[in-house]
C-alpha cells in the first residue's frame, strides 16, 4: 500500500538544520519525479529559535498544505508549543522523537499519534562531522520510499564545493537514519513518482514574482527590506543587473515607491516589493501614481497585521488597504496570484496592465506563497509585456496634452527625451494640458477618464480561474485558492459537482464576468484568510452573489487546509 500524499514536518531549533533538511528533501523528491511544497514556520528570531520545515510530497501537483501531518521528525522540542497549533496531527500520524530530547510535548502527544524513538543525536554523534538533520533526512527517505539517487544528486550539488569529507559525513548520516527506519513499515510510502510530462521547476513565490517582473519588462527596482518580501528584492538585484536593469536600495518605503515613480516617469518600467507596513507608507505616492498616471507595480507580500503584526506568518488582510487605502477617488489595479507558480503570471500581467493603463498595480501575494517553495510544471510563457502608449505626433501646431481626454481614457504619454512632449506631470488635479486646475469640469473629466481607462479595458480570461460546474461554488482568492481547489476536487471525486472561482483581478471589479461564472449557482462559499471577512465584504459591496452565501474566514497564522474547506462544503450540501 502506498499513499498519494505525505505531509512531513521537520522540527528543530536554530542550528539543527531543519530548514536545510526540508529543502534537501524537497529537492531530492523533485529529482526523482515527485511534486512538492515546502513552507516554513519560524519565530521572530533573526537566527535560531523555533523553526519547522513543512513539506508535502505527491506524485501529482500539490495545491496546498496537507490536511494534517503524517510525519513529524523532531531534532528537539525547543519552543515547539509556540507553533504546535500549526502542526495538526491525528492518531494516524507518526512522531519520530529522539529520547535524548525528552518526552513528546503533551500538546502534540494528545493527538494519539504513534511515537517512534530514534536516537538522532547519538547516531549523528558517532559520525565525524555528522549532523542530526542528515540522520533525520535519511529516516524520512526510508519512510516515504525516496530513492537514494535523488538525495545523492542534492548532496553533490549542495556540498560539492565543501569537499569529500562533508559529503561523506552527510552520506553517513543519511545512511544511519535510513538504516534505522528501514524496517518500520509505517504505511507512509509514497506512490511511485512520475517524471513524465513537462519540465518541472523548483521555485518560490517570491522568486516567481521577481521572474514575472523581468518577463514583463521591468528594468528598475527601488528596494527597502521587509519580511516576508525581501527575497523578491534580493532575487531581483542580480537578475535585473544581468538583464540590463537596475536595483537601488532606498532609505525607506517612502523613497522606494518615489524612486520607482521617478524611473517610471522617465519611461522605465518599475517595481518595488514590500509588506503591510511598507504598503501603508507607500499609499500617498501610489495616489500620486494614480493622479499623475505614472505606472508602477507594488508587490505586497502579506503577513499578519495590523501594525508590525506577525511578520513571518501569512494572512490575506491587506485586501482593504490595497483596494481602499488611497485618499480621494483613486482607481487603480489590484491583482492577486492564486498559487506559487502564478506569482509569475500575475506579476508579469500586473506589469503589462500598469504600463498599458498608466496606473499603479498592487500585487497581493502573501507569506504562504512568497516564502514557500514548490515543485511545479514549468509555467507556460505569457505574452504580457510592458508596452506604454507613447505620443507620436509631437512638435506639431497643437500643444501636447499629457492628460488628453481620450475615448479609452488612456492618454498617449511623452517621456523625457521626446522633443515637443515637455510637460509637468502633476499630483495636483489638472486640465488635459497637465496644468493645475481646481475647476469642477476638469476634476470631473479627469476622474472620469482615470476610471474609464480601467473599467473599459478588456482583461480577458485572466480575471479569474474558473473551474468545474454544479450548483455549489467556492469563491476565493490568493493562497486560499489551493486548498479550495483541492476541496472542490474531493467533492467532485465523490460525485458532487462543484465550481471554483478564484478571482485574480481584484480591482477593478468584473460583475458581469462573475455573474456568468456563477450562473445557476445556488450556494456560494467564500473562503479567505482574514479575521474581518474582508474579501466577503468586498464581494458584497461590488457583486451580486447568487443563492445562499456562507463564509469560511479565519486569520493567520493557521493556514487554510483542504479538509476544512471540504468539510464546510459538505455541511452546506
Amino acid at each position: 500500500m502506498t499513499v498519494d500524499s505525505v505531509t512531513i514536518a521537520l522540527v528543530g531549533s536554530g542550528g539543527a538544520g531543519a530548514m536545510t533538511a526540508g529543502q534537501m528533501l524537497l529537492d531530492a523528491a523533485a529529482n526523482v519525479g515527485w511534486y512538492g511544497l515546502m513552507s516554513r514556520t519560524t519565530g521572530p528570531q533573526i537566527r535560531g529559535g523555533e523553526a519547522a520545515a513543512l513539506v508535502r510530497l505527491s506524485p501529482t501537483p500539490v495545491h496546498g498544505p496537507g490536511d494534517r501531518f503524517d510525519l513529524i521528525v523532531a531534532f528537539d522540542w525547543q519552543n515547539v508549543e509556540r507553533f504546535a497549533a500549526e502542526l495538526p496531527l491525528s492518531e494516524k500520524s507518526v512522531i519520530i522523537t529522539d529520547p535524548s530530547q525528552g518526552e513528546v510535548p503533551a500538546v502534540l502527544a494528545a493527538s494519539g499519534a504513534k511515537q517512534v524513538e530514534l536516537p538522532i543525536k547519538e547516531l549523528a554523534g558517532r559520525i565525524p562531522g555528522g549532523r542530526v538533520n542528515m540522520v533525520g533526512l535519511g529516516a524520512v527517505a526510508a519512510i516515504v520510499g525516496l530513492p537514494r539517487a535523488g538525495i545523492d544528486a542534492v548532496i553533490q550539488k549542495a556540498l560539492g564545493k565543501k569537499g569529500d569529507a562533508a559529503i561523506q559525513a552527510s552520506n553517513a548520516g543519511i545512511d544511519a537514519g535510513s538504516k534505522e527506519a528501514a524496517g518500520w513499515n509505517l504505511g507512509l510510502e509514497l506512490a511511485a513518482p512520475n517524471k513524465e510530462g513537462a519540465t518541472r521547476w523548483n521555485i518560490s513565490g517570491n522568486e516567481a514574482a521577481g521572474l514575472g517582473a523581468l518577463k514583463g519588462g521591468v528594468k528598475f527596482c527601488a528596494a527597502y527590506p521587509i519580511t516576508p518580501a525581501t527575497e523578491i528584492l534580493e532575487w531581483l538585484a542580480p537578475n535585473l543587473a544581468k538583464t540590463g536593469g537596475k536595483l537601488v536600495q532606498a532609505e525607506d518605503e517612502l523613497a522606494s515607491i518615489a524612486m520607482c515613480l521617478g524611473a517610471s516617469f522617465s519611461g522605465v518600467p518599475s517595481i518595488t516589493a514590500t509588506a503591510g507596513p511598507g504598503l501603508s507608507l507607500m499609499t500617498e505616492c501610489i495616489g500620486l501614481g494614480v493622479a499623475s498616471e505614472t505606472p508602477v507595480v507594488i508587490v505586497d507580500v502579506q503577513r499578519g497585521g495590523p501594525s508590525t503584526g506577525i511578520p513571518t506568518k501569512s494572512e490575506q488582510s491587506d485586501l482593504n488597504i490595497a483596494v481602499y487605502g488611497l485618499h480621494g477617488d483613486a482607481p487603480h489595479l489590484v491583482v492577486g496570484p492564486t498559487s506559487i507558480a502564478d506569482c509569475l503570471f500575475t506579476t508579469q500581467w500586473a506589469v503589462h496592465l500598469a504600463e498599458a493603463l498608466q496606473t499603479p498595480a498592487i500585487v497581493l501575494s502573501d507569506q504562504a506563497m512568497g516564502q514557500s517553495r514548490a515543485i511545479v510544471d514549468k509555467p507556460a510563457d505569457a505574452p504580457h509585456k510592458a508596452n506604454r502608449l507613447l505620443a507620436t505626433d509631437l512638435g506639431g501646431e497643437a500643444k501636447y496634452k499629457r492628460y488628453a481626454d481620450t475615448e479609452s481614457g488612456v492618454s498617449p504619454a511623452a517621456i523625457p527625451g521626446m522633443p515637443g512632449g515637455e510637460h509637468t506631470a502633476d499630483g495636483l488635479e489638472h486640465a488635459e494640458s497637465a496644468l493645475p486646475s481646481s475647476q469642477a469640469s476638469d476634476h470631473q473629466k479627469q476622474l472620469d477618464k482615470r476610471l474609464r481607462k480601467l473599467t473599459s479595458h478588456d482583461y480577458g480570461d485572466a480575471w479569474a480561474e474558473v473551474e468545474g460546474e454544479g450548483e455549489i461554488a467556492v469563491v476565493t482568492w490568493g493562497s486560499a485558492t489551493g486548498p479550495s481547489r483541492e476541496a472542490v476536487r474531493r467533492l467532485e471525486a465523490a460525485g458532487t459537482k462543484a465550481r471554483l472561482v478564484a478571482i485574480r483581478l481584484i480591482s477593478p471589479v468584473q460583475p458581469e464576468k462573475l455573474a456568468a461564472a456563477l450562473d445557476g449557482v445556488t450556494k456560494v462559499l467564500v473562503v479567505e484568510q482574514t479575521h474581518g471577512a474582508q474579501f466577503h465584504k468586498f464581494l458584497r459591496g461590488h457583486y451580486d452573489l447568487p443563492g445562499a452565501v456562507s463564509v469560511f474566514s479565519r486569520p493567520g497564522p493557521l493556514p487554510i487546509r483542504a479538509r476544512e474547506v471540504h468539510e464546510t462544503l459538505l455541511s452546506l450540501i
Binding site: 536595483l247 518615489a258 521617478g262 500617498e284 509637468t424
Partner: protein, 280 residues
C-alpha cells in the same frame, strides 16, 4: 527650440525655458528671481529641454516645474529628492534638477535629504529657504528662529532651534554646497551652473524672502555678504568655515570630489537563461 541669432551668438535664451503659466506667488516673492536665475542657468548651459527633468515636492517654490518648459514632475510633499533619484538612476543621460522649500526639504523630506547627500546621485537641488511655510499661510519651518512668534500655530514661537541647511548638507556628505540670494539672479544662475556641472549631488541653498509672512526678510539684502573664501574640495575645511558663518554668507562652500553614485548594468543574460536556474 527658439534660437536667438545675433552676430556671433546662437543659443537658447532664458525665455525659452519659461512656460506661459503665471506663477501663483505673491508680488515681491523671492522665488520670481530664483525662477529667473534658473532659466538663465539653463540657457547658459544650453540644456536640451527634452533631456531636462525638473522635480519638486509641495510648497510655493515647488510650483516651479510648471513655470518651465522642460519635462517636470510636481510630486508629493517631501519626496522630490527620491523621485528625482529614480529619474537619474534610471536615465543617467538626463539633466535632473530639483526645486523646493525649507519645509519640503528639511522637515517632511529631511530623511531623503540626508540620504540624497550621502548617495551623491549626479543632480542639483535648489532649495529656496524663506524660513516659513507660506502655502499654508505662515507656520514655522525647520529653519525658523526659535523665538519667531508670528504664527497662530506657535504663538509663543516654535521654541526649537533651527537647522542650518548648508551645515546639514556638509554633514550628510553633499558633494557641492553653495548659498545664494534671490535678489541676485545672475549669481543664482552662476551657482546653479556650477552645481549642475559639478559631478554628484549639488545643494544650492538660496535665501528667498517671503514678503507676506516674513516681511522683515526684505532686509536680507543688507544682511547677506560674500562668504569671502575660495571654494574648497575639503569637506572638513568647508564645515569649519560654515560653522563660523552667520548663515548669510554667499558663495560656494564645497566643490568636493566624491564619485557620484550611478550603478551601471549591461544585459549579459537572457531571461531564458535565468529561467534555466529553476529547472529541476
Amino acid at each position: 527650440m527658439d534660437t536667438h541669432l545675433t552676430d556671433d551668438v546662437v543659443g537658447p535664451l532664458p525665455g525659452d525655458y519659461k512656460s506661459d503659466v503665471k506663477p501663483i506667488w505673491c508680488p515681491g516673492c523671492g522665488d520670481y528671481s530664483v525662477l529667473a536665475g534658473i532659466t538663465r542657468a539653463m540657457a547658459t548651459m544650453g540644456l536640451e529641454r527634452k533631456d531636462t527633468v525638473v522635480v519638486s515636492g509641495i510648497g510655493c517654490s515647488s510650483r516651479i516645474p510648471a513655470y518651465t518648459s522642460v519635462y517636470g514632475y510636481h510630486t508629493v510633499h517631501g519626496r522630490s529628492l527620491a523621485v528625482a533619484s529614480g529619474v537619474k538612476l534610471a536615465r543617467p543621460e538626463l539633466n535632473v534638477l530639483i526645486f523646493g522649500g525649507d519645509g519640503d526639504g528639511f522637515s517632511i523630506g529631511g530623511n531623503h535629504f540626508l540620504h540624497a547627500c550621502r548617495r551623491n546621485v549626479d543632480m542639483t537641488y535648489i532649495v529656496m529657504d524663506n524660513q516659513v511655510y507660506g502655502m499654508t499661510k505662515g507656520q514655522a519651518s525647520p529653519t525658523t528662529e526659535a523665538d519667531w512668534c508670528e504664527s497662530k500655530l506657535t504663538p509663543e514661537g516654535p521654541g526649537v532651534n533651527p537647522i542650518q541647511p548648508v551645515a546639514l548638507a556638509l554633514a550628510c556628505g553633499a558633494n557641492f554646497v553653495a548659498r545664494g540670494f534671490s535678489n541676485n539672479p545672475n549669481e543664482v544662475a552662476r551657482l546653479i551652473v556650477e552645481g549642475v556641472r559639478h559631478p554628484g549631488f549639488s545643494v544650492i541653498h538660496i535665501l528667498s524672502p517671503c514678503v507676506t509672512f516674513r516681511p522683515e526678510q526684505r532686509n536680507w539684502k543688507s544682511t547677506v555678504h560674500p562668504y569671502g573664501r575660495e571654494p574648497t574640495d575639503d569637506p572638513n575645511e568647508a564645515m569649519r568655515a560654515v560653522l563660523e558663518d552667520d548663515g548669510f554668507g554667499l558663495g560656494i562652500f564645497l566643490a568636493g570630489n566624491r564619485r557620484p553614485f550611478q550603478p551601471e548594468s549591461a544585459a549579459t543574460r537572457s531571461i531564458a537563461q535565468i529561467e534555466e536556474g529553476f529547472a529541476v
